[in-house]
Symmetry: C2
Subunit: 429 residues, 2 copies
C-alpha cells in the first residue's frame, strides 16, 4: 500500500485510489467483495491462478513511470511502444476553469501513471462510472502524459498574453508543406505514450471526458513503434521507409546535454517555463508507393545512410561518425550534400531530442494510397533556434522531400513537472 500512502497528503480529486495491484491483493483476501459490492467484482480474478496473481502483484517498478517530478515524464523517458496524441481547444474563457481543468487532469494523470483508475467509483449504480473501465486489470505500461500549452493559449482569452515566452510563436510557413487544418494547432497538446495501446487510448478518452464543458478534442493521432518484444536487441527502431530513425539523438543520460538541448531555463525569458521544454509536432505523410518504386541506391543516397546497417554511407557501423568530407575512390563525396543526414547533421550545432512514432491511418480515400508516415515529435529548449532553423534547411534542400509531405503541425510549451500538492501548469497561472 506504499503507493497509496505516498499520495495521502495530496489534494488530488482522487483520494486513496486503488491500484490494480491492490485490487488483486484484496481479491485474494476476500476484502474486495466487501468494498465493491460482492461477487460482482469478486469474480473478476477468479479465473487467475496463484502464479499469475503473484506475477501481477509485482509488475510495479519497471512498468511505472512516476508522474510527479522536476520535469514532466514523457520527454526524456525512453520511448514507449505507442502514442495517442491529443490536441484540445478550450471552449470557455477566463483562467479559472482552465486552472481547474489542469488540477483535475494532474490528479488523474498521476493516478493513471500508477495503473489506477481516474477516481473512486461510488456505490450508486445510477451514476455513470467515474472511469470508463477499459484499462481495468492492465498494468501501468509505462504510461506518461505530457501537457503543453499551444500558442493560442496566450491570446486574450485567459489573461495569459503577457506570459508568452518570447521565442514561442506560430511556426513560419515551410517550403513544400501542405498543412491541413484538421491536423494543426490546439490550445493544449497532450502527448500520451504507453507500452499498451489500450492504456494510452484510455488515458486520452478519460482526459477528454473530464474536460467536458471546458475543452474539446481538436485532433487525435495514434502511433506506434516496433515493440521491445519484437526487437529484443533494443536497437534504433526503423521508420516506415525502412530506415533506422533516431540514431543521431543526443544522450538523455547527460544532464548537461539535456539542459543545453531540451530543457528551457528560467533565464530564457519565461521564468514559468524553467524545467519545461518546447515541443514541435509534425504529421508527415510518407509517399509510400513512390518510395517503394525507387532504387535502393536512391533510397540510401536520400538518407545518406545504408538501409541495412544504418551506417553513414562509406562507413561500416550505425554509430560511426558522419564524415561529410569522406570521398570515394573517384573523389565523390560518400554522403550527398543534400541527403537527409548531411543536412540534419550540418556542423553539429543544431540539436534536438526527437521522439517520433510511425502512424498508419488506413488509406487516403482520394488516392487509394496508404495514409501512413511519421508523427514527428521533437523537444527543444528554443523552437526558433533549433526546430525552425533545422526545418527551414530541410524544407529547402532535403532529398527526402520528394517522398514526404508535411500535412500537420503544432507547437506546445510543455510545462515543467509538478510536485505532489501542485499541478501541471501551476507555474503559469
Amino acid at each position: 500500500m506504499s503507493d497509496r500512502n505516498k499520495n495521502s497528503n495530496d489534494d488530488s480529486i482522487m483520494k486513496k485510489p486503488m491500484t490494480r495491484r491492490d485490487v488483486l491483493r484484496l481479491a485474494g483476501t476476500g476484502g474486495l467483495g466487501l468494498l465493491l459490492g460482492g461477487g460482482a467484482i469478486g469474480g473478476l480474478f477468479t479465473a487467475e491462478n496463484n502464479r499469475k496473481t503473484e506475477a501481477a502483484q509485482a509488475p510495479a517498478a519497471e512498468d511505472h513511470i512516476p508522474f510527479y517530478g522536476k520535469h514532466q515524464a514523457g520527454i526524456i523517458t525512453p520511448a514507449q511502444n505507442f502514442i495517442c496524441f491529443a490536441a484540445f481547444d478550450v471552449t470557455g474563457s477566463g483562467s479559472h476553469s482552465l486552472q481547474k481543468l489542469f488540477r483535475t487532469w494532474t490528479a488523474a494523470a498521476a493516478a493513471m501513471a500508477e495503473g489506477k483508475q481516474v477516481g473512486e467509483e461510488s456505490n450508486n449504480h445510477n451514476l455513470p462510472p467515474v472511469d470508463t473501465g477499459e484499462s481495468v486489470g492492465l498494468n501501468p505500461s509505462r504510461l506518461t502524459i505530457t501537457f503543453g500549452a499551444g500558442t493560442s493559449l496566450f491570446d486574450d482569452r485567459f489573461g495569459l498574453s503577457s506570459k508568452r515566452p518570447p521565442s514561442f510563436k506560430e511556426l513560419p510557413a515551410f517550403n513544400g508543406e501542405q498543412l491541413e487544418p484538421q491536423w494543426c494547432g490546439g490550445d493544449i497538446g497532450v502527448q500520451v505514450c504507453a507500452d499498451d495501446m489500450q492504456v494510452a487510448f484510455h488515458a486520452v478518452r478519460n482526459l477528454a471526458r473530464m474536460a467536458r464543458g471546458t475543452a474539446v478534442l481538436r485532433w487525435v493521432q495514434e502511433g506506434f513503434q516496433r515493440s521491445a518484444q519484437a526487437d529484443p536487441s533494443g536497437g534504433t527502431p526503423r521508420n516506415l521507409l525502412g530506415f533506422k530513425d533516431g540514431t543521431g539523438n543526443p544522450a538523455v543520460t547527460s544532464g548537461q546535454d539535456m539542459d543545453k538541448v531540451v530543457w528551457a531555463q528560467g533565464s530564457d525569458g519565461a521564468a514559468w517555463m524553467g524545467g519545461g521544454s518546447y515541443m514541435a509536432v509534425r504529421r508527415i505523410r510518407m509517399r509510400i508507393e513512390i518510395w517503394d518504386r525507387s532504387s535502393l541506391k536512391d533510397q540510401e543516397d536520400t538518407f545518406g545512410r545504408y538501409r541495412a546497417s544504418g551506417a553513414p554511407l562509406g562507413s561500416k557501423n550505425e554509430f560511426d561518425p558522419v564524415d561529410l568530407n569522406a570521398k570515394d575512390e573517384k573523389g565523390n563525396p560518400h554522403i550527398p550534400a543534400d541527403s537527409h543526414v548531411a543536412l540534419a547533421r550540418g556542423d553539429g550545432s543544431l540539436q534536438m531530442l526527437r521522439r517520433s512514432y510511425s502512424y498508419s491511418g488506413g488509406i487516403d480515400l482520394k488516392t487509394g494510397q496508404l495514409d501512413a508516415g511519421l508523427l514527428f515529435i521533437s523537444y527543444q529548449r528554443d523552437l526558433i533556434r533549433q526546430f525552425v532553423a533545422m526545418q527551414q534547411k530541410l524544407a529547402k534542400s532535403d532529398r527526402l522531400n520528394e517522398y514526404i509531405l508535411h500535412v500537420g503541425s503544432a507547437v506546445f510549451a510543455c510545462f515543467p513537472g509538478a510536485s505532489k500538492g501542485g499541478y501541471i501548469g501551476d507555474t503559469l497561472f
Copy 2:
C-alpha cells in the same frame, strides 16, 4: 477448473471455454502443442514467466505460427495484439493473373510468418529493394495472414461464378446500420494479425505492393487489443465500452466444436471450401461520449453482465452460466430480455467464433467525437445460419444499439489452408 465444469452441461454458446489457465496447463503438459501445431503455440505464454529476458533472447519457436496447414492460420489461432485488415479490389480480369497473385502472396506470407523478408535482395542497388525493410530485425511476432474471397470475386470477371458457395452472398440490410461505402466490401479480404503493429503493417504494405497491376487496396483498418504484457493474467480482454468481450466464445481446442461451428465442410455445397471458413467483418463505431454519460446500471443492463467481473447479472463469476430465467427477490429477471447477452445467447443454438479488435481512428471531423469502436470479426461455417441469423436478432432488439453504429461491412470466404508446394486458393482455381 470448477468454472469449466459448471459449464460442461450447459447448452450456452460457450462450451468449455478455455481460460489461459487451461492453456498454461496444456502448454505445461505439452498438450497444447499437440493440439495446435507444436512449438509455434507452445511458447505463447513465455512472456508470463519471470524469465522475460531469457525469453526475449530466444524468441524463435514461440513467436512463429506456421503458415501452411490444413486450415489457414489466424482463425482459431489465439488472438494476437494487433490487426491490420486490408480489403483489395482486383483491377484486371481473367483468373490467370489472380492465380499468379495468390501464388506470390502465398510464398511471401509463408516467409513473413517465419520472420523472413518477402524475397531475397539482389546485389543490384539500382533496383528497388524487394522488401520494404521496416520489419528487419523484428521477430515474427506470431504473424498470421488469412486470405478470403469476397462475394464480388464470383461475378463474371474471373470465370468463378459457378464456384460461388450457395450460402455465400452479400449480407442483407440490417436494421439501423449506416454503412459507408469506404468501409464495405472488397474482392479479396486479408486479415493480418501480429503481436507487433509494425510487423502487421509491413505485411499489408508488401502484399499491396506485390499486387500492383492486379489488385488495389479498397480499405484498411488497424486495430488493437490490450497486450499480454499489459495483462499478465491473460483474462478476457475488454472492449472500449469497458466490458469484457469474448467470454462466450467456443473453445478452439475442441476439433468437434470447430468442425460444427467454424470449418466449412466439403459436403456443405462447395467442395473447394472444405476446411475453410466464412468471415464476417463489421466496423462498429461506438458512441463513446453517449455511453460515458450513461449510468453503470444502464451499462450493465445493456450488456446483461457486470462490468467489473464480466459475470452475468445475478451471478458471481465471468464464466457462470447465463441463466435467462433467474429472477431477483422482486421476481424481475436479473438479465433483461433485450440485453446483449440475452439476445446473443438465445437458446444457445447460434454459435460463431469471434475474433474482434478495438480500433481508434482519431476524431470524426463532422462531430469532433472520437472515431473509435470495434472491428468485429467472426468466423463461421455458414454465414446465413450463423452470422446473419444472429445479427438480424441483435439489429432488431439489442439494447446495445443505442450506443453503437455499424458503418462498415464485408464477408469473405476464407480458403482452406495450403500445403507446401500449393498455394492459398488452389482448391478454387
